[in-house]
Symmetry: C4
Subunit: 205 residues, 4 copies
């Protein structure tokens, strides 16, 4: 069933609050990055933060609703806004991983790590790996790094090819980080832990 306007605006309020939180951390400089929440699974519909706005100053209505290909979908009672091109990747991440929420931020640590380790960032024997669902000992994790593209189909293919079901994050080189979770709070925690892990890795290389 399609989502109602109330469900969409509820998601919008959560996305706006979460975006303000990430913006305050300096992870959404300019108007960069976008957050999404799955508002219906079948058909797949995501509420995605609107493009081109300051991510620290969104309101609940500053969102677009998109379908599986990032195409705008009309919801009665919601003024249609142009989705970011990246909405297509959000939808694909949600479809492929089953995530309920996707975070895309431009953290410096992700882009610096992507430059240092274009083949993926190896992490191992760190307690904070538990924060992304992995083991703190003897469990080698490779955070995938994929080349950037403006073609969301191409970027989505790269994402799919690199995707490891055991790693809830992918670095887009020269660009930023995608991370996800069952809900927005879990996606926040994954994002924070990945950032910590990458910052640690950079500090000790």
């Amino acid at each position: 069933m399609s989502p109602t306007a109330g469900e969409v605006l509820g998601a919008g309020a959560r996305l706006a609050a979460e975006a303000a939180r990430f913006a305050a951390l300096g992870w959404m400089r300019g108007t960069s990055g976008n957050l999404s929440e799955v508002v219906s699974r079948d058909p797949l519909r995501l509420a995605v933060t609107a493009s081109g706005l300051d991510k620290g100053e969104l309101s609940a209505a500053d969102l677009a609703v998109v379908g599986p290909a990032g195409d705008p979908v009309e919801v009665e009672g919601i003024a249609p806004l142009r989705p970011s091109a990246e909405a297509g990747l959000h939808a694909r991440v949600a479809a492929l991983t089953g995530a309920g929420a996707v975070v895309h931020v431009h953290t410096l640590s992700a882009v610096v790590a992507g430059a240092h380790w274009p083949g993926g960032v190896r992490l191992r024997d760190l307690e904070t790996l538990k924060g992304i669902g992995r083991g703190a000992h003897d469990d080698e994790v490779l955070v995938p790094v994929i080349p950037n593209s403006q073609d969301m189909a191409e970027l989505g293919d790269r994402f799919e090819a690199a995707y490891d079901p055991g790693v809830p994050a992918v670095i887009v080189a020269s660009h930023g980080l995608y991370a996800w979770g069952d809900d927005l709070l879990r996606a926040r925690h994954v994002t924070e832990c990945v950032d910590w892990l990458l910052a640690y890795r950079i500090a000790t290389r």
Copy 2:
């Protein structure tokens, strides 16, 4: 037509709020930096934050109104305040670039980058370049670096000589950053993206 006191104070309120935001980021330490908004285009008049005050604690009236050469201009109902010497460069930036707002901040990343690359900071193949109106791929951007001067006419000439219409920012070596946009919000976003790009460049050199 000349701006009214109401227009000037409206600009002052926006400049004060924006300055407090930049000050909280640590980009206007001491009483450094200044922000301006074009309040009339013909004749050219800018509202510029007042000199010598803490940029985190400005009120709407803490501004000067200046003309094309940074000279103080009287506006009925506005108590005249001494403009910063740098107001002259703000006016020149606005005249040359057509910008509606100019940001001048002392970010560490700008001055460190200016020291590393006195001939200009080369940036390329970075998604965040889109935040300053450039391409994320195969588009080489050179952020100009000009030597510092206390003579605003000289500094303005250097600015004009170095100015690239495709790059909305210039580093003044040993000093800070100038960035601009159609309005104050856009100038904020350009400033944030340039800071991110310079910090990235420094972290990966």
Copy 3:
């Protein structure tokens, strides 16, 4: 005598406020870290922040009460919550050191320092050493570093073996920091000073 619900919730309110403060510093990313307060000494009972929650958003009731081995203890009027496995180490720290409050945070400086100096972090001739009860001159301090483990009995044994009564903090390598004091405010100050000392040591190595 066993603690009352009121005493436990009073501790919970203090722990929640303190956790929000540490979270804002970026020291409790994801749901990492935990804080505790001794609510009775004999029998030993600690109020420990609950596991799996965002440490910036705890309420007074988001805690578990544990005994000397980190085992959950019922208190009338308190809804029993599952303690973090690390509660066992908190209890052991409190028992061994006599501390009234224990802080466990994932500061980057602690984990980076643990990687650089797995045999312990040597500090000497620094005024901030007075903040952890040591001398500013001619007093060599070794902050112990112990290997990480998921077995709290094993980690506790390592803690006990490494413990120096003159140093109110231990680094768990690849994991984070434990610090303590007579009360929560003192534990905060010790944590802040140790973080400063480790950051300084890293910056000057």
Copy 4:
């Protein structure tokens, strides 16, 4: 004439607000640092923040009043608090420099710079030097670095020997920064500019 209780508490309110501001910057970790304001010049009396308290949580009454040697002075209506030993250096700085306010903070940049350049930190050709009253061009500034001591008379002698009337700040090696100005706001601005200059110097060495 001796200061009144009202004058002292007015200073205390300003010192508490300023200390909270510096603490939020991370420059007064633990209970470190102290701020003072001259409340009478003849006889010399300073209001100094009390020792051993969290500098982010002071109230107006959390201060001591001291004379030229840092000795506690009674003021009618003010509960006498034990001054920090460092109050003696505050008084000496105020007497020697004529400053109306003195800031002592434990900034990482000051202590790192003191370790890199124990003979003094050379600064030159930087716009931010204007923020400490110096020239942006061709004006060489040496921020003095003096060895730490717990004996305030000895530290004061070192301060006096190193003092350059053209530089409103001194680094105490392995310890922190002293900076001053005509009033507390000016001392804040000097402190911020010196921190910026030292951070820049460290980043480009």
